[in-house]
Symmetry: C2
Subunit: 323 residues, 2 copies
């Protein structure tokens, strides 16, 4: 019996199937495809590899699993050791597939906040046609801090640079140097010193014990009056009660959240009523883009080569680090 790969993705095309089948056959694997975890349940016992958006339940049931390649970038839900029957099971993510679309979301929402597009939308919907009193703001000349300078933060910085900001500072856990799109790269230890010089704070962090609550009430107070906050990482990184207060008091001029606690965000949740908040329902990393989809396939097949050759996976996740 040949070795088995189970692929659970809802965006399979004939072309993707052809690409995966060809690579698998070359290495003596057979592939079974499922549109979702429900249809895969009970039939992945013999899968050595799983790729896609698998439920925790499917992972936990996969007795022969040696490698799970998740088609998402954020894999915090899959970092519990007890999830895996095989304690050495490899976990990899698809970091690198989402930077392009999430960076577009970030530029869009940053400009919507700066240009007061929420208020202009209300005005047009009410049948009006006027220039609002007060000013708008610009990426041009803004001081931008990117908290989490991985694929998403870097793709954002590359695009933001074209708008001639005053400065783009990247903040990351380790001190390794960043992409040239950043003017400066600092570690988390410098965060409190950087926040007072930040007009636009972009948060693109994985969910780890270190990042939970990183934008605390105290740190929000360090941002200058009129600053903006954008979060596309995980909702837990932001103290939401403090954010509501900072928006309603006018300390912050606006916030755009694509991630919240909880998700879905209830219809009567107080975040929805905060002043100048721009909410989107966790769609920044929308997987409907052909580019994003093809990248997840390409990256899986690249790491399949590594796996078969016994080399380290390029996007392996340290389950203790959560990324």
């Amino acid at each position: 019996m040949s070795r088995q790969i189970g692929v659970i993705i809802d965006y399979l095309t004939e072309e993707y199937r052809r690409q995966i089948d060809a690579a698998a056959a070359q290495h003596g694997f057979a592939v079974r495809y499922y549109p979702d975890s429900k249809s895969a349940a009970g039939s992945v016992d013999d899968c050595e590899i799983l790729f896609g958006h698998c439920s925790q339940k499917v992972i936990a049931s996969a007795k022969s699993l040696k490698w799970f390649c998740c088609c998402w970038a954020g894999v915090d839900r899959f970092c519990k050791d007890e999830l895996y029957q095989n304690p050495d099971c490899l976990l990899s993510n698809s970091s690198g597939a989402y930077g392009v679309t999430i960076a577009e979301h970030l530029i869009m929402t940053a400009l919507m906040l700066l240009r007061r597009q929420g208020e202009y939308g209300d005005l047009i919907r009410s049948g009006g046609w006027d220039t609002l009193p007060g000013s708008i703001h610009s990426l041009h000349g803004s001081r931008i801090t990117v908290l989490g300078a991985g694929d998403i933060g870097t793709e954002f910085a590359r695009r933001a640079r074209a708008f001639c900001p005053a400065k783009i500072v990247g903040v990351r856990r380790s001190a390794k140097s960043g992409d040239p799109a950043f003017d400066e790269m600092r570690t988390n230890a410098a965060l409190d010193a950087i926040l007072p010089q930040t007009d636009l704070l972009v948060m693109a962090l994985p969910n780890t014990p270190d990042t939970a609550g990183i934008l605390s009430r105290e740190r929000m107070a360090l941002l200058p009056e009129g600053a903006y906050v954008l979060n596309v990482g995980r909702g837990a990184a932001v103290d939401q009660d403090a954010l509501i207060d900072a928006l309603n008091s006018g300390h912050l001029a606006g916030a755009a959240l694509d991630v919240t606690v909880p998700e879905p965000l209830p219809a009567d949740h107080p975040l929805r009523g905060a002043k100048n908040i721009l909410l989107t329902p966790h769609v920044a990393g929308n997987t409907t883009l052909p580019y994003t989809r093809q990248r997840t396939i390409d990256m899986f097949l690249e790491d399949l080569e590594n796996y078969v050759a016994g080399k380290p996976l390029r996007r392996v996740v340290d389950r203790k680090m959560f990324y």
Copy 2:
């Protein structure tokens, strides 16, 4: 009696006043300041130069006027010869001050259309939290055509380039080469050949007899199904009835108009109800940005040097060309 400059701007600051006074004094001019044309009416008879957002009435009443420097980029309203008591009166504009802010508006509205932000806004306002069925689209890989490749079109292209589009084609009246931000520069004669290869059509044209109705019903039909149209030039460039039809039939996937005919757009105007339309009330070139304001002052003072030295004005407008 010294020669007079009249300055009519509503964004005068002490600093701008200091800059203008210093330059004027150096050349033997005295300056009078007015916050608006109403307050200037009847008192500009002796002004040799007017700078700012002057009404046609004030211009027509200025008996001694030799140069009107308009603080807007679009000066079509000031191109009628009969407006000027002195037939040789110079007209200049402030093209170059608005590219930065209008380019930000264009990137914002392009992304809002591509990412279906209008629908997501409706969903959030209704208390929902879901991914919409169907796909979103991306600047990444898009074929962009910029009709009107002046300051605004060029600043847009520079920013759009950072999003890795498939191609950016500029289309302009004359064949002179454009900024390197464009992959290719064509003349208006090639427009019909370019439209079928355009996913996103950005219009940033001055209002001239040549540009009125340039996006006709026939040309809209040349755009591929699912294309997007953005207009920040003048409303008259677009056949609005044809646009409504093209949006409602689904031939076009969306349109963002910052300019319309008429302005203000009446509350019951059919454009407001067109499918996937994103309207803004002529605020793309918002003059509340300090950058934009300072640029209009700097450019006026630069041309004041030219005027005094008897050199051609850098931003002189050919009243027969309308720009």
